[in-house]
Amino acid sequence: MDQGEDFVVANNLDDLVNKMNELVDNSLLNKDEIKKQIEARDRELDNLFTKDLQVTALRGSRFYRGDRLIRTAKPHKILDPKNGPLIAVKLNIISRKTLGGLQTNLSGQVLNSDGCVIKGLYAAGETAGFGGGGVHGYRALEGSFLGGCLFTGKIVGENIRTS
């Protein structure tokens, strides 16, 4: 298939919702309910201020030059046909990173269940939770995985080099 199988495109919302239901082979989505919610959201665009926090966030993010340039579209009504055909994307859960891992001290040495160093054993990168067995805690700020591999690799390397 040339196009992504998780995408559907339509010129009006009724067709879009039909296609969405077809894609997942059920009828969970109700056209009228979805239309009501999008119309409600679109009404919030008539003023520059609004109660809809997503719309507020869009306007806020456009104060950042980078977002205005390449990341946040000018807020517009979803159901206004002049904004192009409607698109829906089915979003799946996609596995990626392991935030926990081998517990290491600040030299990158691996610890045992008593919290003592296993002599000569080090860990770096994702396997060490990007540092210490979970440098991100519960949530990440992004860009910190590669960075965590670089940092732990560097620290472990320096410690071994000088030991």
């Binding site: 966030a57 979003l91 067995g133 690799g153």
Partner: protein, 390 residues
């Protein structure tokens, strides 16, 4: 043949450690289960986004950042709550990492030839209070050349060190056991896997043709996480995130199998925080898969409307790119393992990026010309081209 150090895993962490160790003249044996084509591991596939604090790129974009602000954001996101146990070292590493990202990181990388795309991205925007989850300011610095450029910088060093006789790199060497005597590492044991023509990222065979034992007083484990091992993911899935997804796609190559973590644990190493994982909610299937169940993550801009499987718009702050974990929890608690974006042509043109080196040929190929064309076409582009043929 004697080695001062054995490194298990030739991903970015293993390459970095190896290069740093061999720089001091020590002899390193670098082992990896995959064929040589996969050197660099996951990092090659990555978008090459790097977290930096108060960088010249940020300043040029008018962003005021500081170590204090980044500390506030990191701790607000991390929510360390096992400080006297599982988070004891993790939090100290976080503090050290923040210093690194604010000071040394950028200069060090630049000295290795790594440059950054001038527009800094804004990931994980939060949506709670100032001390809650999220980046207060954009900090996602995309490496010019994306993942492959990062790998290249370190691979180059390793290749030189191989030529100098400091590094011995043995692909298709899978470690099956850590040798520990009297509480100290003494070596590794493993299997030599049959030669493989698998291209980068493709699943390679596990047929064993021989075994090996190497001795060394110093061993570095850099074998990656568990992202391709759905059984382990489901086993470690915490209740707080609802039930584990029945259907998932994989954002990582098959070699991210978690096997070495289990082996290390068997040898006495302690695994902590195994309930903490970072999976995304905006996965689409790759129509020309490289690895098993290959999925690609959409890096969404903030405008798409987000609905659950039954068509209810998610509550604040479950907006695209705000709170990955919170949204994952919200989705899983609907009882379905998928959700929907509804958007317009205008939104897709401006806001959809796909996270991965392959999906961004202009940034990966370091072509300013192609990038400019993309920026110009961003408004003229047909919607099929964003998830086009690459």
């Amino acid at each position: 043949m004697g080695f001062d150090v054995i490194v298990v895993g030739a991903g970015l962490a293993g390459l970095t450690a190896t290069a740093e160790i061999a720089d001091g003249g020590k002899k390193v044996l670098l082992l990896d289960q995959e064929p040589e084509t996969s050197i660099g591991g996951q990092a090659w596939w990555s978008f090459g986004g790097l977290f930096l604090i108060d960088s010249p790129e940020q300043r040029k974009m008018g962003i005021k950042d500081s170590k204090e602000l980044a500390y506030q954001d990191w701790m607000g996101s991390a929510g360390f709550d096992r400080l006297y146990d599982e988070d004891y070292w993790a939090k100290q590493w976080a503090e050290a990492y923040l210093d690194f990202a604010a000071d040394e990181k950028r200069d060090w990388l630049r000295s290795l030839g790594i440059k950054f795309f001038p527009v800094v991205g804004w990931a994980e925007r939060g949506g709670y209070l100032a001390d809650g989850h999220g980046n207060s300011v954009p900090r996602f610095h995309i490496v010019w050349g994306t993942g492959p450029a990062i790998v290249e910088a370190f691979e180059k060093r390793i290749r030189t060190q191989i030529d100098q006789g400091l590094v011995t790199y043995l692909p298709r060497h899978r470690v099956d056991q850590l040798l520990i005597e009297n509480g100290a590492a003494v070596g590794v044991k493993g299997s030599i896997l049959e030669p493989s023509n698998a291209k980068r990222g493709e699943k390679s065979s596990r047929t064993v043709i021989d075994d090996f034992t190497y001795k060394s007083p110093t061993i570095v484990i850099s074998s990656g996480g568990i992202g391709a091992n759905f059984d382990l993911i489901r086993k470690n899935w915490p209740e707080r995130l609802g039930s584990s997804p029945q259907n998932m796609i994989s954002g990582v190559p098959d070699h991210v199998d978690g096997r070495m973590l289990e082996i290390s644990e068997k040898t006495g190493a302690r695994i902590v925080n195994r309930d903490r994982m970072w999976h995304y909610t905006e996965g689409i299937k790759n129509h020309s898969p490289v690895w098993t169940e290959h999925g690609i993550r959409i890096l969404p801009g903030p405008s798409s409307l987000w609905f659950d499987a039954e068509g209810n718009r998610f509550q604040a702050p479950n907006f695209p790119g705000f709170d990955t974990l919170g949204t994952l929890e919200t989705i899983m608690k609907t009882g379905y393992d998928y959700s929907w974006f509804i958007l317009t042509q205008k939104i897709i043109e401006k806001e959809f990026a796909l996270s991965g080196s392959e999906q961004n040929p202009d940034l990966t190929g370091k072509s300013y010309k192609r990038l400019l064309e993309r920026l110009k076409k961003w408004s003229a582009r047909s919607c099929s081209s964003i998830y086009g043929s690459r």
